[in-house]
Symmetry: C2
Subunit: 205 residues, 2 copies
């Protein structure tokens, strides 16, 4: 669609929005016109919050999670179990696991998974820094919590090879049927694996 | 969802994005993390383009379309037919009609339609300024091009009553079956009206 915008300033703002993933030119225009209806303060607060974030945000030097300080809140929390590290793909995964309140160890954010198709190789990820963390000796379990995809499995295997000679436990999050899934619609691989990896039933899940 | 963000700056930016219509907290987070992966210049250009737009954009004093100058490009274009004014709800509608390249007159952007449910009354819209434009005597046709909804029809009727004593032609855009629509799925009102308002067939549409 070759749109004729009535204003160059409008066109510029719409084009900026349309660069975002999943935002087409029509949605971009709708969002910009929405912002234009807000007062000056609201628009400045929006624009400035992004500029400030980009300038001031840090990445934790330990786990590479996003952070306001050099060491993130999780890594600097003395109540957390420093002997366990959960390897995740990205920041959203840290947030998702934190929301479960089931994990009290530390994290290691890779920043992606190995994907030759997308040109992402191990050196683009925080894998060598994970090896360094393990070498320091404080860690005795690494939990691999990557997505159960081909890329996730490739990355799991790559990390496994890098760490297998070190004296740590390496675990991977359980795969199986999801809560409330219907068995008949569960894919074969998942269902088959959930039978092979069955666990003892003690009267409650 | 009560998300725990790893950074206050991140949370602030995500909350700003999530205020936009149709953007939930998960999408907002995805968009902000995308921006965070861009370089500083790109993020500044994004934020600044919105702030500049809000500060510097104008609304045409004639037709109320968005504009970089006091009078918009359409109103100041001497090649356009100044005797015809097309009344539309918003800026997107001007762009949509311009894209058809079928219209060479001027516009009048109401800024909405009358909607008691949403608390939008005639005084919230650019209706009195339309009456003033017509009073100046240069206009001899007003085309009503509002959406064919109850609110659009109410607004059409309100404008009709305001202008009926002036010596101008008042027209409304044709309603009927849309190009490529299947008749059997067209609603009754549209289909019925398309038969009542049939036009002479001259061998081509």
């Amino acid at each position: 669609m070759n749109q004729q915008y009535p204003s160059v300033l409008l066109e510029k703002a719409v084009n900026e929005f349309a660069k975002l993933p999943g935002i087409g030119p029509k949605t971009a225009l709708r969002l910009v016109l929405h912002l234009l209806r807000q007062d000056v303060q609201a628009v400045e607060s929006f624009g400035q919050s992004l500029i400030t974030l980009k300038h001031d945000v840090k990445f934790c030097s330990e786990c590479h999670n996003i952070s306001d300080a050099d060491i993130c809140e999780i890594c600097s929390d003395v109540r957390r179990d420093r002997s366990t590290v959960c390897v995740v793909e990205n920041i959203q995964d840290v947030m998702a696991i934190e929301n479960t309140r089931q994990y009290k160890g530390l994290y290691h954010v890779l920043g992606g998974v190995i994907s030759p198709m997308d040109g992402i190789s191990p050196s683009d990820l925080q894998i060598s820094s994970l090896v360094e963390r393990v070498k320091q000796g404080e860690i005795n379990e690494v939990i691999l919590a990557l997505s159960p995809t081909m890329e996730g499995d490739t990355t799991n295997f790559y990390i496994y090879r890098k760490l297998e000679d070190m004296r740590i436990r390496m675990t991977v999050i359980a795969r199986g049927v999801a809560q409330n899934d219907e068995l008949q619609y569960t894919d074969e691989v998942t269902l088959g694996r959930s039978i092979v990896n069955r666990v003892m039933f003690t009267g409650k899940i």
